[in-house]
Symmetry: C2
């Protein structure tokens, strides 16, 4: 097999991580614990605790924790245990700013590009009659995320998409929490519809400023809910 063919074959193979792997299991469980505030920001814990609780040895636990560390969820203290990364609202502001930068770049590239096919598809979800709208707020949150992800994907730069994914994932620590009211759902529909229309008309500037306002609103909302949820978790 030639070098080139070999390289091709490598790309064709499925990703290394198998779903059934213990490392993945530990990784997912610990991440869920962090997301759902069973592990609070600042909490300390040890590899053995996790290993005992999940009934595996320390080896896969270590690999999972190092992965989480690399992604910024936990810290390792040299020979002195692990801790959940404290909440840092400044960081979240920065993540939102970064997110806006990335999505704005995507919007501009799309408006300059030749093809709006992938954007057109969004019409089926966001430009629909009231009766066809989703009302469940968790489901709506997922749709919202998909909207933004689709836009970034449409810019056809996988590296941009990868980074955007990372940012979204870290924001999702709070985002994923249930939204208290449904009024953001309606507003989201309105705002997305406007952005979408601007995109379809290739009005980059308009789309960007709408996007900026939309993300700012979202940021403020998420911030408010997070503080509330965090306080509630702390008291129990």
């Amino acid at each position: 097999m030639s070098k080139a063919e070999e390289a091709e074959a490598v790309l064709d193979e499925p990703q290394g991580s198998i779903a059934g792997s213990r490392v993945d299991h530990v990784y997912n469980r610990v991440k869920e614990d962090i997301f759902d505030f069973r592990l609070l920001p600042g909490d300390r814990f040890t590899e053995s605790q996790v290993a005992d609780r999940l009934k595996v040895s320390r080896t896969p636990v270590r690999e999972a924790l190092y992965r989480l560390e690399r992604e910024g969820y936990v810290f390792v203290h040299f020979r002195n245990g692990w801790s959940v990364r404290p909440f840092d609202f400044v960081m979240f502001e920065n993540l939102y700013e970064l997110r806006l930068v990335l999505e704005t770049a995507a919007v501009r590239k799309i408006c300059d590009g030749p093809d709006l096919a992938r954007i057109e598809e969004l019409k089926d979800v966001w430009l629909v009659a009231d009766a066809d709208r989703v009302v469940d707020s968790l489901q709506a949150a997922e749709l919202d995320e998909a909207f933004h992800t689709t836009i970034v994907d449409a810019a056809e730069n996988p590296e941009l998409a990868r980074v955007h994914n990372d940012v979204i994932e870290r924001i999702r620590i709070i985002r994923r929490l249930d939204f208290t009211q449904g009024y953001r759902v309606e507003r989201t529909y309105e705002e997305h519809a406007k952005i979408l229309q601007a995109l379809l008309r290739r009005r980059a500037d308009t789309a960007c400023s709408l996007l900026k306002a939309h993300i700012e609103e979202s940021r403020a909302e998420v911030r408010k809910i997070t503080i509330h949820r965090l306080q509630a978790a702390r008291q129990s």
Copy 2:
């Protein structure tokens, strides 16, 4: 392994690991091997090979390799060895585009911001007489990188800086190679000086378009050199 052999192994290191951690050592060595084309894109290797060569056990090797996998340098094949990620020129184009997005955002934020102190510091390096300029091309490449990193840092968004760092690092796989001529060094001085002056005058649009041209030039140069080096490495 006996104590004496272990001591020898440690002394064997050319650089001497700064952090005593074996994981870091393996991580750095393997990355260097990839950077310097001792490990070619598409090459396959095993954990044991690396462990034997670096005189450590498989445990730190595995942690280092998973780190490299997470960063996109290598792939793990389930129970079937590892391989170096194949070169993908499309990916590099995308990385350069992303880099431009990030740096442009930084420039705009700086120009809108209140404080140019960190930018002023760059004058000491880039706005100097010809006689004070660096001529060594490797050293110049490092200075060039520092220029861009400083700009991003000055935007005061650590998340933006982190992502930018990632992107730069992945570009550096090729960047780090020796530059064939020195003429890019002089051009770099000129271009950086112009960008710097625009920044100091808070001319965001000017700075951005200069930056874009500068990065485009760099991209073209790096691409050319990479293809050349890669072909040379493949033939040996």
